[in-house]
């Protein structure tokens, strides 16, 4: 089940980040639901690292997660899936940092950025749940045997 959610969330994340990347370059003023802070956030000094938009890194990150998860799914390789889902720690940390910047520094929220933060967080949550349930039966069976 978790592998399906991974595919789904990373696909959402990819679309979202790709959209933000395009917006970063075209700078088309675009519709910004609910909070309305998209322009300020996506054109702020924090929206890029070394001149590369963070959204582009986001798109790459989700793209890689999607591709690797897809590989594991097609090969039915659960173990590799657990290994690659460690990547979600990276996404979580980045998301926490970016949301902190939005809330405390820019004082503006951007809907599409929060969508990405949410999917990163969910990917991490699934990873943790997965990790716990994977560990438990194994250690139980090991302790039973010894």
């Amino acid at each position: 089940m978790s592998i399906y959610l991974y595919l789904f969330l990373s696909a959402i994340g990819f679309l979202d980040a790709a959209f933000l990347t395009i917006q970063h370059f075209t700078r088309d003023p675009f519709a910004c639901p609910i909070f309305g802070g998209c322009d300020e956030v996506t054109s702020s000094i924090y929206s890029q690292v070394f001149g590369i938009p963070i959204a582009l890194f986001g798109a790459l990150y989700y793209g890689v997660i999607f591709a690797l998860t897809l590989y594991c799914y097609l090969k039915s390789n659960r173990k590799l899936f657990l290994t690659i889902s460690h990547l979600s720690i990276l996404g979580l940390i980045t998301s926490i940092y970016l949301v902190t910047v939005m809330v405390f520094v820019l004082n503006s929220l951007c809907f599409y950025c929060l969508v990405s933060a949410t999917s990163s967080t969910l990917l991490f949550v699934i990873f943790i749940v997965n990790w716990l349930t994977w560990k438990r039966p194994r250690s139980q069976s090991e302790s039973e045997k010894s």
């Binding site: 595919l7 959402i12 039915s76």
Partner: protein, 260 residues
């Protein structure tokens, strides 16, 4: 230890066998599932986009995208019927804009009847941390009728606030120096209204294809930023003289017509 090794191997073998048994029809099924997941993700994203009013561009702003027409939302100084309108797209955190501030001020003093100066926000947020909030501060001052006074302070004391982490308290000091109502100033500076005024102006400038500050327009014509006060003065004087003889000529032409 050995036992676990064996169980691991066994598990792998089992897995492999399961894979093989499920692979012929399984792989197409899997691809279908993946397709469905991608479609669901794309669908959800599209719904969010459409639901959020995506596609329809946000209200094309109240800010004027015309470099010659001055609207009531603009910050303008000088007579409304001035022969020359100088529109400056500027960012309070931009050092070059600060360098032009005394020049522009001098010009409006030298041509009190013929020059109208207009400021439009173009905060370069991607390179200047406090560009946005300083523009909002100027809006808050404008709310109490002190836009130009605040603009001058922001420019002349740029060095004092550009490296501060949160310059808002500095701006409040400026407001109290200008004997503004500081509480009202603070509230307005952080308001959505101030934000959207600045954003509208930024978007308009962006739509016009501007990419740097300051960008000057004299009567709607973009000019290369003059290097000195003298050059600037000449450009404006030239514009005035271009328009000045126009009226007597027009009247003489008017006299010619009846003769025909």
């Amino acid at each position: 230890m050995e036992e676990t090794e064996i169980t691991k191997r066994e598990r792998k073998k089992l897995n492999r066998e399961q894979n093989k048994s499920s692979s012929p029809s399984g792989s197409t099924n899997k691809l279908l599932v993946v397709g469905a997941i991608i479609a669901a993700a794309a669908g959800l994203f599209w719904l969010m986009y459409k639901g959020g009013g995506g596609g329809e561009a946000p209200v094309p702003t109240q800010a004027s995208t015309s470099p010659s027409e001055v609207s009531s939302n603009d910050h303008a100084k000088g007579p409304e019927d001035a022969k020359v309108t100088l529109i400056e797209y500027a960012d309070f955190q931009c050092p070059a804009c600060a360098a032009y501030q005394p020049i522009v001020k001098q010009l409006s003093e030298e041509f009190p009847d013929d020059l109208r100066v207009v400021h439009r926000h173009f905060p370069l947020r991607s390179i200047h941390k406090h560009a946005q909030i300083s523009s909002q501060a100027s809006e808050a001052a404008a709310d109490q009728g002190a836009f130009w006074e605040m603009a001058e302070i922001l420019y002349t004391r740029q060095d004092d606030w550009v490296n501060v982490r949160d310059p808002r308290s500095t701006f409040k000091d400026y407001a109290s120096e200008l004997t503004l109502n500081v509480e009202q100033f603070d509230k307005y500076m952080n308001s959505d209204e101030a934000k959207s005024k600045v954003n509208d102006s930024y978007n308009a400038a962006f739509v016009m294809g501007l990419d740097s500050t300051p960008t000057f327009f004299i009567n709607g014509n973009k000019i290369e930023s003059p290097r000195s006060l003298d050059e600037f003065r000449e450009a404006i004087a030239a514009e005035i003289s271009k328009l000045a003889p126009a009226s007597p000529e027009a009247s003489s032409e008017g006299e010619i017509i009846p003769q025909l």
